[in-house]
Amino acid sequence: MQHKVIDTKEVVIRFTGDSGDGMQLTGTLFADASALYGNDISTFPDFPSEIRAPQGTVAGVSGFQVNIGSGEIRTPGDFCDVLVAMNPAALKSNAKWAKLTATIILDSDTFDEKGIKKAGFKTDDPVTELKIQDRHIVFAPITTLTKESLKESGLDPKTIARSKNIFTLGICYYMFNRPMDTTEEYLDNKFKKKPEIAAANKKALKDGFNYAANIHAIPNTYRVAPAKQEKGTYRYINGNQATAWGLLAASEKSGLPLFCGSYPITPATSILEELALRKDLNVKTLQCEDEIAGICTSIGASYAGNLAVTTTSGPGISLKSEALGLAMITELPLVVVNVQRGGPSTGIPTKTEQTDLNQALYGRNGECPIAIIAAHSPSHCFDAAFYSAKFALEHMMPVMLLSEGFLGNGSEPWKIPSMKDYPEIHPPIVTEVEETPFWPFKRDQEKFARRWALPGTKGLEHRVGGLEKNPQGAVSSDPINHEKMVAERAEKVARMANYIPDQKVIGKESGEVLVVGWGGTYGHLYTAVKELQEEGKSVSLAHFDFIFPLPKNSCEIFSKFKKIIVCELNSGQFANYLKAQYCQYKYHQYNKIQGQPFIVKEIVEAVNEIL
């Protein structure tokens, strides 16, 4: 077979296997190596919620897609150039993601009668059955080769078998001309106490590489030049880590210790884990008995003067809603992070969706508006978390940060910012006041924020609580007072609009079609809009980070386009919200509720349809 080196701007590779095969690790190591090599990258882990679903079944297939490029990469890619499938089930559930020109690498050892049957194939020829004979199929006996590679390692057969993902990684490193040093370093580090395992894995990696170089069965190898990136120091970051770090940045800029009361829930847990590591930065994390205690301990910590945060996903928000109302009526700063997942109820925990917008907007009893900020990319979670905390602290109110599983688990290279470029945060903490006794609900006339008197401060003793109060802080069921307090709390949230940046438009500020999105769909919508613009089409993008309140220029932006199409991973929640805000416009919709991110192609098609 003629070996070809393809110079390309962008390559998508998808690692798939049994959830015990280590595909998430393989994908992450490949992404790390590519990021360090200088490519722009975007990743998308796609895994089941079962830790170990029955081996060899479609239910247990775990995937990790990574898009590497020499240009701007905004999405993990729609379809892959290379598909690695460690067993028949992985091939069965992922063949649909392989491009017509794709190379598919299979562990032939797993394609025996038993494996094929377990995956639910009707014939004994999965390739023909899936109608993928035209792709470049590489049957590599990966299990056997790994055993052979490590037969003198002295390790037991089970441990040896576990290295087959690293052997596979070696094959991929050959295909993509990747340096192996970062992975070797990782292995040395990870198995510091078990050098024999580190050595075995490094051997498997090299042998995989050499195997691929020797067999001449790999039709193409790819060269993806480093991306032209802005000068600076870069790192690789995922959304949940960026969220945790953005909160830490707010803690530093406000001078307030960070407190996080939380309860583990997919896909938000790693924020809590990340914060739990940071006692060195004066962080206190409390893994609570339930979601309700998560928010309630945070409300307590906020009352006591910490920057308080609670992190969860949609079902957790459901449990926290009553307490969210308490934070709202007591007018205490609190950041509530919702890393959205497929719902309703338990739904599809490991899959991504934007279906909790209505819940964020309306999911509480009484008149209970809460500010909402959405993150639009893994690294943007940093800024989104920072500003959620800044608004919460300076405006004395809870702020909900909407992230998504796609962002929380996804990762990308990030030019490391400098903290000196971030603003200070000045919460309205008071240590003495003119009036005696202290009036807890007296407001400043600009933001409408109340003052924050911390327990321990002499002379400012006061009571807050879930019962309606008058400005002096006494319980009141006076009808006029209630209406006034309701209006003032709403006005406070509305006034946040005076402090947020104008909504930007990507592309021309007027034209035929305005694509509107919010949150984690940014990369896909951006790529689709750029593609359409390159074709000369009059299409622009307005992607919203500030959901409630909306930027003040939103209406004006909408007025400049003939058509508006709102694209979101739900049945039209943002579109309906916009209809309620600016009913003079017609909003076309493109919606998808499959637990999967958009693909660029479908957005392009949806826009072309209304152009």
């Binding site: 407190f259 930065l281 006591a304 009553e322």
Partner: protein
């Protein structure tokens, strides 16, 4: 600074029903405060009273301290957050049998398990008062209420048993009407490092009147209750002639002088022993078989959650490799683009 009970009274009108036992508990806590301040060198601004929902949970409004009236059942969680965020505060949770043991049962046991340094004052009137008379998790089996017109078919919780089951370090009990004992155990609970639970047997004059009167009525109280004091023999009775002994695996009431029983045969109360065996039996004692135990039943030393958290933070900061966010952002693998 010397305080008086008056310093702890807020300007708010107390709105409990006339004759409600809560008034007496408010008085005993306000009377205990100057003592607490003096013995622990606290100032008033360090006190935070936190509550959930229910009649008793209006309590924080009546104290001229920092106060947080939370939502139903969640006071333990709110109090925990306050204490962990600022361990220099002295945090008091006021709760009822519905608030702490029904809707808030989970938070209650976990606060105790963690041994967070808060004082939990549990007003147990064995009824839902604020919702006007439904049975609670401590209502006696068979009790007829609006939601149990044929009598309850549920066994009640014994709050002290829950405390022991959660490996609690402090449990005390008093009667609303016994201000002296109440005041004393409030001070002792404040002095205790860790989750201190005080069960107050309280009368609801409207919906469950006289629920504790078999033991709390002034004329019979001395003979039907025993006030336990650490290190002292378990003697009770109007004439101080009754006592408790261990008979096999059970506690038995005896009369000093009868059947050759001497004072030296009586159990001596050891509140500080970690072994919960006798504490459990004391907590379970019921009239008429045995007197109801009052006073500090258990007060065991153990590390508190908030101390452990603070120690970890101090230790982590002393050995920190990362001192600020800029350093954090540059930690791990990074690369330069030139």
């Amino acid at each position: 600074m010397k305080y008086t009970p008056q310093d702890f009274k807020s300007d708010q009108e107390v709105k409990w029903c006339p004759g409600c036992g809560d008034h007496a508990i408010l008085a005993s806590i306000q009377r205990a405060m100057p003592d607490v301040c003096e013995s622990l060198n606290y100032t008033k601004e360090r006190f935070v009273f936190v509550s959930g929902i229910g009649c008793s949970s209006r309590f924080p409004y009546y104290m001229d301290t920092y106060g947080f009236h939370g939502i139903h059942g969640r006071a333990s969680a709110i109090a925990t957050g306050i204490k962990v965020a600022n361990p220099t505060l002295t945090v008091w949770q006021i709760t009822g049998d519905g608030d702490a043991l029904a809707i808030g049962g989970n938070h209650f046991i976990h606060a105790i398990r963690r041994n967070i340094d808060i004082n939990i004052i549990l007003f147990n009137n064995q009824i839902y008062g604020l919702t006007k008379g439904q049975y609670s998790p401590t209502s006696k089996l068979g009790m007829v209420t609006k939601t149990s017109p044929y009598g309850t078919v549920e066994h009640p919780f014994n709050p002290g048993a829950l405390v022991l089951g959660s490996r609690g370090t402090f449990f005390a009990r008093s009667l609303d009407v016994d201000l002296k004992v109440s005041q004393d155990i409030m001070v002792q609970s404040a002095k205790h490092d860790g989750a201190a639970v005080v069960e107050m047997l309280v009368n609801c004059i409207i919906f469950n009147d006289k629920t504790h009167s078999l033991v709390s009525s002034k004329d019979v109280r001395a003979d039907r209750t025993i006030v336990l004091k650490h290190g002292e023999p378990m003697i009770y009775g109007k004439n101080r002639d009754k006592g408790l002994i261990l008979d096999g695996y059970s506690i038995k009431s005896v009369v000093i002088g009868e059947n050759g029983i001497k004072e030296s045969d009586l159990l001596v109360h050891d509140a500080h022993t970690e072994n919960p065996g006798i504490h459990s039996m004391l907590i379970d004692m019921k009239y008429p078989e045995l007197p109801v135990a009052l006073g500090v039943i258990r007060a065991v030393k153990d590390k508190t959650y908030d101390d452990n958290v603070r120690d970890q933070v101090i230790d982590a900061r002393e050995h920190a490799q990362i001192h600020n966010v800029d350093e954090l952002l540059h930690s791990g693998a990074t690369w330069e683009v030139k």
